[in-house]
Symmetry: C2
Subunit: 370 residues, 2 copies
C-alpha cells in the first residue's frame, strides 16, 4: 500500500492513525460486536461517542458553556440558508436584515442565498481585485438594523484568510470556518455563530459542525422554516432529533483526539504556519511560480498559485505521476492550489516544494535550449 | 472478535462482507493511495463510485429513465419538508394541497410537517386502533385538488406494512420506504416519488436516497425554498451540487453489489419472507409472546411484539446478555421489536427464536413452581 500526498481542498487528507483505528474497529467497535455504522444512535455506545466528541471539541476550542455544539447534515451550503432563516428576524411581517463581507466564492454564495430570505447586503468586498486580498474592513459601517454580520474566515477557492476580525459593532458575528476550523486557536466568544463542514480539517463529508450562542437560538417554532432547518430542533435534542450522520461524527471524534495529541490548536497552528511558510517562501523565490493572494492575506490552508496558464496543466499531470494529488485550482478560478490542512504532514509540503523546484529547473533548462 | 446479532431498527446491521471490504480499503482505495473519505468529490475515482452506485440501484430496482436518483442528506425528516415544499404547488399566492394516509408514527410526523407548508389532510388512518393495522383504504377519496397522495410503506415503530398500494386516483403517489427499501421488488412506475433513509436496509446513516419522476421536479427556482431543499438543485448536478456524503454513498454502493449477489430484490424477498415467517410463526404459537400487528398487515422488517409489560424489560436484558442486541421497542410504544433487515442472516432469526423458546420455558417453569 502506497499512500499519496493528497492536496485536495476537501474532502481531504485525514490522519493516517485515525484511518487505521477506524479500519481496525470496522467490524467490532471496542467489543460491542458491531460497527459504529450499525449502532443505534440511541444506544449508550453511540451516546458516549457523540458526547465525547463534543467534549473534546469544547476542550480544543475552549467553547464556553453558553454556546451549543450541533452536529448537523447538509454542509456549508445548508448553513447558507439556515443562518438567515434562523437569525434574520424582521419584526412581525417585515423582512430581516443582515450585512455580509464578501471575500471570495463562498461568501458570495452565502450572500446570494441569504437574499432569498430577507434583506442581505454586501458592505465590503474585494471582488474588484478578483479576491486576491480580503476586503478593506477598517471603515466598514454595519447597518443599525442588521441582525448579524457575516464573514467567511478562509476562502477555500481563492486562498485568502481574514487575519483580523471586522468590528461587528455590537452585532453577532457569523463565521463560515469550513476550511480553517481547528487549524489554529479560536476565540469563540467573539462570534455569535460558527459553522464548518467537516470535510476539510475535521473528518469525512456529511457532517457540519455548528457552534451557536444560546441567545441566538429561538425559543419558539419559526413559522415557515422546516423543523430540520431550525437550530432549536437540534439544540433541544442534543443533535439527536433524528438519526445523525453517526459514522462521520465518530471519525471527527477520533480527529479531535488526534488534535489533542498534537498539542491542541496552539500546537497545530505552529505546524500549519511552518508548512505554509515552506511553500510560500519557495513560491516567492521562484521565477516560475507565482502566488495568487497578496502576502498579508494568504491562507495557511489553501495555497493558490500558478505556473502560468501554459504550464499549469502539465504541472498537475507531472505532479500526479509523482504522487502529489489534487493540485488543480478550483474550476471557477483555474491555476493551481495546494490545500495543506491539519493532517498534511510537513514532509508532504517539503516533498512538494522539492518537486516544484525540479519542475522549475526542467522548464528553465528547456526554455534555455529553445 | 465476536459479532452480536443486532436487531436495531436503524442504524442497523450491515453485511459483514461489505464491512470487511471497507476496512481493507480504508487507507488505500483500489490503489488510489487514499481513503474514500479523503477523496475529492470531483475526482474521477469518486465519480465512478457514485455513478456505479446509481447504476447498480437502477438495475436492482428497475428504475425507468424518466426517474432521477438523488443521494441527499438530512434523513427522512428532511424529506418530510422537502416533499411538500417541492410538490405542493398552489396556484399563485394560494397554498397547495396534499392527502396523507397515516398508518403510524412516521406518516403522522410527515403529515404534521407538511401542514407547515400548505393544506395537508389525513384521508385515512388507523390511529384509533393504535396502528395495529394499516388503515382501510378500500374506499378512500383522494381530493381533486391534492398535489399528491402520501404513504409510509412500512412503519418502523409500529411494525405494519402496506401490502397493497392505495388507488392514488391519478395523483402522484409519494412513498416513504425508509425501512423496507430494497427488501423486495419495487414497481417504481407506480410512484411519483420514493425516498428512503439509508440506515436501515442500505447503508450507514447520513445519506437519503430519493427516486423522483422527472415531471415532479420544478424547472424553475422555487421562491422561499432553500437552494439545498429543491430537488432541482440536486437533479441538475447529479447529486454533486455540493459535497455529498461520499463515504456513506460508497458503502451503499457496496451494499447494492451485495444485493445483486443475493439474487437481487426477488432473491432478497424470499429470504426476508422466510426470516419473518420463522419469527411470526413462533410468536403465534407462543403462550408468552404476543404480536402487536394483525397478521395480514405485519411488516417483514420490523417485528413488534411483547412478553407482557412485566417481562419485556427482563427479556431485553437477558437477550442482550446472550448476544441479541437492540430488542427493545421504540420508546414511544414500548414492548419489544426485532428489526430483521436484509443483512440479518436467517441464522440470527433462528437463534433468536431458540432463545425466546428457552426464555418462555423458564418463565412458565418458574410460574408453575410459584
Amino acid at each position: 500500500m502506497t499512500r499519496v500526498y493528497n492536496f485536495s481542498a476537501g474532502p481531504a487528507v485525514l490522519p493516517k492513525a485515525v484511518l487505521r483505528e477506524a479500519a481496525d474497529e470496522m467490524l467490532d467497535y471496542q467489543g460491542c460486536g458491531m460497527s459504529v455504522m450499525e449502532m443505534s444512535h440511541r444506544s449508550s455506545a453511540f451516546k458516549s461517542i457523540i458526547q465525547e466528541a463534543e467534549q473534546d471539541l469544547r476542550d480544543l476550542a475552549g467553547i464556553p458553556d453558553n454556546y451549543r455544539v450541533l452536529f448537523l447534515q447538509g454542509g456549508g451550503s445548508t448553513q447558507f440558508a439556515m443562518v438567515p432563516m434562523n437569525l434574520m428576524r424582521g419584526a412581525a411581517g417585515n423582512p430581516g436584515h443582515a450585512d455580509y463581507i464578501v471575500s471570495g466564492t463562498w461568501s458570495k454564495k452565502a450572500l446570494a442565498e441569504a437574499q432569498r430570505f430577507g434583506d442581505a447586503r454586501c458592505i465590503a468586498t474585494s471582488a474588484d481585485t478578483n479576491f486576491d486580498r480580503v476586503p478593506d474592513m477598517a471603515n466598514i459601517q454595519v447597518n443599525a438594523d442588521a441582525d448579524y454580520l457575516y464573514i467567511c474566515m478562509n476562502e477555500t477557492v481563492n486562498g485568502n484568510v481574514l487575519r483580523e476580525l471586522p468590528d461587528a459593532q455590537g452585532k453577532p458575528l457569523v463565521a463560515d470556518m469550513s476550511s480553517c476550523f481547528l487549524s489554529e486557536p479560536i476565540d469563540v466568544e467573539r462570534y455569535g455563530l460558527i459553522f464548518a463542514g467537516a470535510q476539510k480539517n475535521v473528518g469525512p463529508a456529511g457532517v457540519t459542525i455548528v457552534i451557536v450562542r444560546d441567545d441566538l437560538i429561538s425559543d419558539t417554532d419559526l413559522p415557515g422554516v422546516p423543523t430540520m432547518m431550525q437550530y432549536r430542533t437540534h439544540a433541544d435534542a442534543g443533535s439527536l432529533y433524528n438519526t445523525p450522520p453517526c459514522y462521520a461524527i465518530y471519525i471527527c471524534g477520533k480527529v479531535f483526539k488526534w488534535l489533542k495529541a498534537q498539542g491542541g490548536l496552539a500546537g497545530m497552528q505552529k505546524v500549519n504556519q511552518a508548512k505554509a511558510q515552506v511553500l510560500y517562501e519557495y513560491i516567492d523565490k521562484s521565477e516560475l511560480f507565482r502566488g495568487f493572494v497578496r502576502p498579508q492575506d494568504r491562507s495557511l490552508m489553501n495555497v493558490t498559485f500558478t505556473a502560468g496558464e501554459a504550464l499549469d496543466g502539465e504541472f498537475v499531470a507531472a505532479a500526479k505521476a509523482a504522487g502529489f494529488e489534487n493540485l488543480k485550482g478550483h474550476r471557477s478560478v483555474g491555476g493551481l492550489r495546494a490545500s495543506i490542512y491539519n493532517a498534511m504532514p510537513i514532509g508532504g509540503v517539503q516533498a512538494l516544494v522539492e518537486f516544484m523546484r525540479e519542475f522549475e529547473a526542467q522548464h528553465s533548462c528547456s526554455s534555455q535550449s529553445m
